[in-house]
């Protein structure tokens, strides 16, 4: 920790651990790249999807070895979820869901690494802060959710045609009477805005709040013997619960991806 550069107060400890490794490419916060999220997410994507690609490349149709069996289990699990929800051609949805699931799971799992120990490595090139969990950065989760949103719109137009989609925007779900057009449009707009918003913020909120609670518990543990005695069991309980949350949130993100894209294929 940077204890010799600044006085270690609770606020500065938490502030340091919430600081991104930023690179401005323009004026203002919008044009600032969070290099830590970008680097870690790309690295994890290459590692995760690359591992699956490498195993599939050397796959045999005879008796599979453990690696191949593991990848087959994962693919069958995701395919079963896609089959239960979407009853059409899932040659796009199932691989997209697998990609999302593996990537989000790996990114969430970065939360298992202790932040102060990671600081020993990252302080060399990022002294002001380095966030190792990409999904605790609202930019990453919104990027994923907006990609799913664009896929939703693309499939709506591809399946129903541009005219059919506009018709559905104005006439579903209340009816095609012109008096109901504003109500239908409002309803559909709310749906189209709330879906990516909740999709992104659910994942972000879970990971960000989890990290904050860890930081607060470490702060309590550093506050004397009584603090440590109380903080360690609480931190253990929260860490075990967080394992469930990491997997669950990746699973929910994948399921909602499947549900949103399959709903885009339906016509009213």
């Amino acid at each position: 920790m940077a204890a010799e550069q600044e006085a270690l107060t609770p606020g500065s400890y938490i502030g340091h651990h919430l600081a991104f490794f930023e690179k401005p490419v323009g004026q203002g916060g919008f044009w600032t790249l969070n290099l830590d999220s970008l680097l870690v997410s790309v690295l994890l994507g290459v590692v995760g999807i690359g591992f699956i690609w490498w195993v599939v490349r050397g796959a045999t149709s005879g008796v599979p070895n453990k690696r191949q069996a593991f990848v087959e289990l994962a693919c069958e699990f995701v395919d079963k979820q896609a089959k239960d929800i979407f009853h059409g051609d899932r040659s796009f949805i199932a691989p997209a869901a697998l990609t999302v699931f593996v990537w989000v799971l790996l990114m969430n799992a970065m939360d298992f690494l202790p932040v102060d120990m990671m600081g020993w490595i990252t302080h060399r090139f990022a002294p002001h802060g380095f966030r190792i969990v990409p999904t605790a950065d609202v930019n990453t989760t919104f990027a994923l959710a907006l990609s799913v949103w664009l896929l939703m719109i693309y499939f709506s137009i591809a399946v129903k045609g541009a005219g059919g989609w506009i018709h559905e925007l104005f006439c579903a779900p209340f009816g095609s009477n012109p008096l109901l057009w504003p109500a239908n449009l409002l309803f559909n707009l709310v749906e189209y805005i709330s879906k990516p918003l909740s999709h992104a913020l659910r994942l972000f909120g879970n990971m960000y709040a989890g990290e904050i609670i860890f930081l607060l518990l470490w702060m309590m543990a550093g506050a004397g013997l009584a603090g440590t005695v109380f903080a360690v069991p609480l931190a253990l309980a929260w860490a075990i619960f967080h394992i469930l949350i990491v997997v669950l949130q990746a699973y929910i993100f994948m399921m909602l991806t499947i549900v949103y894209i399959s709903m885009a294929h339906e016509s009213h």
Partner: protein, 91 residues
């Protein structure tokens, strides 16, 4: 001195706001999860062979019900540690 008073006022109201956000969100989430799990237990008692299928749905719904609460918690934490309302004061 005047500025300190203003900062204290902003912090006080922010603190109350965070408490309301987290408390009311937790209230809603816990009641919702309680209702859902009670239905699951009822269904599991009637049809024990459906337990594996229902359990998967229970976890999915657990995450969905928790969503608004966790979003509120995230916003609360944001106000706790990087209060943007203080920025208007330049402090």
């Amino acid at each position: 001195m005047e500025k300190l008073q203003l900062v204290a006022m902003i912090q006080a109201y922010t603190g109350i706001g965070i408490g309301l956000m987290v408390g009311l969100g937790a209230l809603g989430a816990c009641v919702g999860v309680g209702i859902m799990c009670s239905r699951f237990l009822e269904g599991a008692a009637r049809q024990p062979e459906m337990i594996p299928a229902l359990q998967a749905k229970v976890f999915l719904l657990l995450g969905l019900i928790d969503a608004s609460f966790i979003i509120g918690l995230g916003i609360g934490m944001f106000f706790a540690f990087a209060n943007p309302l203080l920025g208007a004061l330049g402090g």
